[in-house]
Amino acid sequence: MPEKLDIELRNIKKEIELMGELSRAMLMDSVTALRDLDIQLAEDVLSRKETLYKMDQNIEEHALKVLTLHQPMAKDMRTLACVLKMITYLTRIGRYGYDIAKVTKEMGGKKHIKKLIDIPAMARIADTMVDDVMQAFKTEDIRSFEDLEERDDILDEERYSIFRECVTYMMEDPRNITMCSHYIMIARYLERCGDHACKIAEKVHYMVTGEWVEIS
């Protein structure tokens, strides 16, 4: 019955919105923990991994169940196709948060080189991208995608500039190598988050319009 399908779809959407919030939180909190060298916050982020994976699995099962029992068509089918891919990307984004928290723990309170101005800035950009695409998923309004590519490009540039900066620091003083390699990796993670947000945007675009686009 269509009513039941509607309810199921609404529920899945809510579940994925929750997952999106969790992913974003994990990412942002991990960068905050990194910046403030807050071990406790890092531990907290680490503990959220279980929940993230569980959500991934639950939503996938839920979506497959709806697929089997309702054989949805058109937009309903596209929504589920989108959802099934989104959970993968959101898991990865949350996972990067987890990885950043892990690194924070490993640093064990060592002082940062410079003020890390760029990494939190990068994180903020990535976060807004994820926020925007999740909002677009919720409202089905894809106009915010217009500048997604630009922001992704910015993330790319930032990553390279952090890379070059760190190389300079590493050449200056070999004692910086440990910290800088962490910074380079984290920058890479954040850039990837931006990529994943773009991928989510592609799926949401398909869900809404039925057309395949490339957003990178």
Partner: protein, 252 residues
């Protein structure tokens, strides 16, 4: 359009005062399966019956517009309706074999069109039954009454019967709605095979069947042709809101 075999131009139909088909325009491709879907009363059965002039048998019907088969309008007065029906065959919703033997059912068509020699008829019967994937099951009881076959077998018999006069187009008006899932699946496989040598136009109220079986799908509503597109498009990303609502089950 390459490979076009039938074209409907500005077709309108009235049952007495009631209008049943509105300005239908569509083109069907050769050797493809075209499905007509839509809620009850949308006119899909009425439309398909126009393609072989079966609506002529109803007194109150009035038709304007053209149905072109290989370029010629089948409704023109110079057209021999019987000949049209030998080129455009029809399978009905409820299997309707004649109360005769299996052999006589299939031989009926060729016989009335002049084939008399037994050897020829034997060959036609065997070929048609093989094409309809029924030969294996009935080859040893060709003289038994057709009424003793199961529903699915009877429907395949009707298909064989239609194939015996070698049509170009096969019209199917909800051919599996009276059959169980296994028989339905056999007929769907058959349609896929038939596509190679014939053109199939099928009316179905079962959307999943249309999705499984057809290359093109036409969605009709209240006598209008709302959307006509490749099947994948209709079911993945329909352009009309009405089509989308029907396909997702929001109405009808």
């Amino acid at each position: 359009m390459t490979g076009m075999i039938m074209e409907v131009k500005d077709l309108n139909l009235w049952y007495g005062k009631k209008k049943a088909l509105n300005q239908i325009n569509m083109r069907m491709k050769k050797n493809k399966v075209t499905a007509l879907i839509g809620p009850s009363g949308c006119g899909k059965s009425t439309l398909i019956r126009c393609f072989n002039r079966m609506n002529d048998t109803i007194d109150s019907v009035k038709i304007t517009g053209e149905v072109l088969y290989e370029g010629a309008n089948i409704y023109s007065p110079s057209m021999d309706v019987m000949k049209v029906r030998t080129r455009i065959g029809m399978i009905f919703q409820k299997p309707n074999p004649f109360p005769k033997s299996v052999y006589d059912n299939i031989a009926y068509g060729p016989r009335i069109h002049g084939t008399k020699r037994k050897k020829e008829l034997d060959r036609i019967v065997e070929t048609s039954l093989k094409k309809a994937a029924l030969w294996e099951e009935v080859h040893d009881r060709l003289n038994d009454s057709a009424m003793g076959l199961s529903g699915g077998q009877q429907q395949r018999l009707c298909i064989a019967r239609a194939l015996a006069i070698e049509p170009d187009i096969i019209l199917m008006d909800e051919p599996t709605s009276a059959l169980d899932p296994l028989a339905t699946s056999k007929i769907e496989d058959l349609i896929y095979e038939l596509k190679r040598n014939y053109t199939v136009i099928i009316v179905t109220h079962n959307m999943q069947q249309a999705a499984r079986v057809s290359d093109h799908t036409a969605f009709m509503y209240l006598g209008d042709l709302v959307e006509f597109a490749p099947t994948r498009e209709i079911f993945e990303n329909p352009k009309q809101r009405l089509t989308e609502n029907y396909i997702t089950g929001r109405f009808g």
